[in-house]
Symmetry: C2
Subunit: 105 residues, 2 copies
């Protein structure tokens, strides 16, 4: 929780092997120390009217904004980004300092 | 981290007092025990081409999907949802079991 967040919400193209993309993303975050936490999920619950065609969310956490900025220019990230962009039909990216309003006791 | 996530990405209407909405949301999560964690943020970094007009992300964590389902029918949630929906221009909602692929050592 907290830190600086890099949130990517996507809809993959229909012919994409999502498992391959996921493996590439897991390799990426494992190789870049600046990524402190990475979790993702595939929507299983939300009605189509709410999810608007999007299917997956990816959330990376960095200690601070500068670490995220360094990540964006990391060679492994640049290489993976090309693969990722080619695989998605649409996307939303938000980058923000996280405000923790409630946390486990 | 982990658990069942309720992710809401929005663009607020231009005349909305976002602070008021945020206070309502913080009140909501403080009143509902099923919400284990709540963090949010306002994008400060992403180019408009990437954020696609969206400005805020809200992320709630539940222990399990059933807790999220109970939350959706909680009277306080139903009441707040009406206020929230009236305040937003567009949105994406994703609900998913979180896969933690990297976590702090």
């Amino acid at each position: 929780m907290g830190g600086f967040k890099h949130l990517v919400v996507v809809k993959f193209k229909e012919d994409v092997e999502v498992e391959v993309i996921l493996k590439g993303m897991e390799k990426l975050v494992s190789e870049v120390d600046a990524v402190k936490c990475f979790e993702w999920g595939q929507d299983i619950e939300s009605p189509e009217m709410l999810r608007q065609g999007f299917t997956h969310a990816f959330l990376m956490t960095f200690e601070k904004k500068e670490d995220y900025t360094a990540f964006t220019t990391h060679p492994t990230h640049i290489e993976f980004s090309a693969t990722f962009v080619a695989a998605i039909d649409k996307f939303v990216v938000l980058d923000f300092p996280s405000v923790v309003a409630k946390s486990p006791a």
